[in-house]
Symmetry: C2
DNA sequence: CCAAATAGCACTGATTTGGTGCGCAATCAT
DNA sequence: ATGATTGCGCACCAAATCAGTGCTATTTGG
C-alpha cells in the first residue's frame, strides 16, 4: 500500500553503507553480514543498481561494488526508479519528470488506462505523483546517510513538510 | 511500484464526482455510467469509503452515497488510508502522523521488520514517508475536483514542489 | 408488491513481490 | 598454476496483493 518494496529498502541500505566506504569496493557479503539481509537477494539488488549506473562493480577476490558518483549526486529517486520502475501514483502517462541523471530508459507503459480522456482526476493525480517524485529526487544518499539524520530537513522542503505535518489538518 | 491501487483511483474518482453533487445521494450506477469503471468493484470501494466515515449511505430506490463533510475537509490521505491502509514507505513502525479525522483504526502491523534496531535508513525513510503522507494530507477533495485544477498548487507546498521539480537536480 | 439500491460474504484469476538454486566468468592471493 | 572469492546470468518457486466477480439478503421509494 503505497510503500517501497523490500528490494528498494535493501538497495538503499546498501547504498547508504557505501557512503561510509568511499573509494573502496565493498562486497555483498560485507553488507549482508552487517545487516540482516538475505545475501542472495541483496546480490540481485546490487546487480540491478549496477546495471542502472549507480554502482560500479568489480569481480574477483577483492571485488565488490562502489558508488559511481558522490553521495550527494545520487538521489533516492534514482534508486527507486532502478529497482521498481519510474514511480507513479497511477497507471497514467509516463512521468514528465525526466531524470537526466538516470542511465536507464523510462519503461512506463504509456497511458495504460482506457479512460484517460474522461478521467476527472488524471491531471491532479499526476501532480500528486510529481510531488512525491520530487521529494525522492531531492533526497540524496548523503541525506539518507546523515548520522544524526538531518535528512529531509537538509533541503528547503524539509522544514515545511515537517511543520505541515503537525497541522491539525 | 509506489503507486496507488486501482481501487483507490476509483474511490477518488467517485469522491470527486460527488463534489459536484453536493447534498444529494448519488448512486454507484450513476458514477460507473459516467466513467468506465466496473460497477461491482466500485460498489465495493464505496462501501469501504462509507465504513471509513467519509461517505454517508442511504439504501433503497433513490439511495446512494453522499459526502459527509465539506470537500475541503476530506483529504486524499483519508481516502488512501481507508482503501489501502495507512501509507508507509516501509514496513516500519506505524505512522506517527495520526489522522484524527479518520474513524478507522490504524492497522499497521507495528515494526514488522526484524532489523529495526540496526537499520541505518529507518529514521530517514520514515521522514520520507511522512513527507509523502503530508502531501496527501494537504490535498483536499476540493483540490482534486478543481476544474482548471490548481490542485497541489493551491496549498503552500505546491509552488515549492513545482519549482523544485524543475531543478536540474 | 416491485424495482432499485446498499450490505455482506466469499471467491477466482492475474500480477507482483520476496526469496532461492546453480552454473559460469573474472580476479586476486598464495 | 590453483583455489578461494566475488560478481553475472538465468530460471524458478511460493506467498501476498490486487483487480474483478457472484450471489443473496436487506432496506426503501413509488
Ligand atoms: S486516467 Fe484516471 S483512472 Fe486512468 S490511470 Fe489515470 S488517473 Fe487512474
Ligand atoms: S527497519 Fe529498515 S529495513 Fe526494516 S522496515 Fe524499517 S527501513 Fe525497512
Amino acid at each position: 500500500m503505497l510503500q517501497l518494496t523490500k528490494r528498494t529498502e535493501y538497495g538503499l541500505i546498501a547504498l547508504v553503507h557505501m557512503v561510509d566506504r568511499p573509494g573502496v569496493f565493498v562486497s555483498a557479503r560485507e553488507i549482508c553480514d552487517t545487516y540482516k539481509v538475505p545475501r542472495r537477494l541483496l546480490a540481485e539488488v546490487l546487480k540491478t543498481l549496477s546495471k542502472a549506473g549507480l554502482l560500479a562493480s568489480h569481480r574477483g577476490a577483492t571485488g565488490g561494488y562502489m558508488l559511481v558518483r558522490e553521495p550527494e549526486l545520487t538521489s533516492v529517486a534514482q534508486a527507486v526508479s532502478a529497482l521498481e520502475g519510474n514511480p507513479a501514483s497511477s497507471s497514467c502517462s509516463p512521468s514528465p519528470v525526466d531524470d537526466s541523471n538516470s542511465l536507464f530508459p523510462i519503461l512506463d507503459s504509456g497511458s495504460g488506462c482506457d479512460m484517460s480522456p474522461t478521467c476527472p482526476i488524471k491531471t491532479p493525480i499526476q501532480r500528486l505523483r510529481d510531488g512525491i517524485w520530487s521529494l525522492l529526487q531531492q533526497t540524496s544518499l548523503r541525506d539518507l546517510a546523515a548520522p544524526t539524520a538531518a535528512a529531509v530537513n537538509a533541503n528547503p522542503l524539509g522544514e515545511l513538510l515537517q511543520s505541515a505535518q503537525t497541522l491539525t489538518y
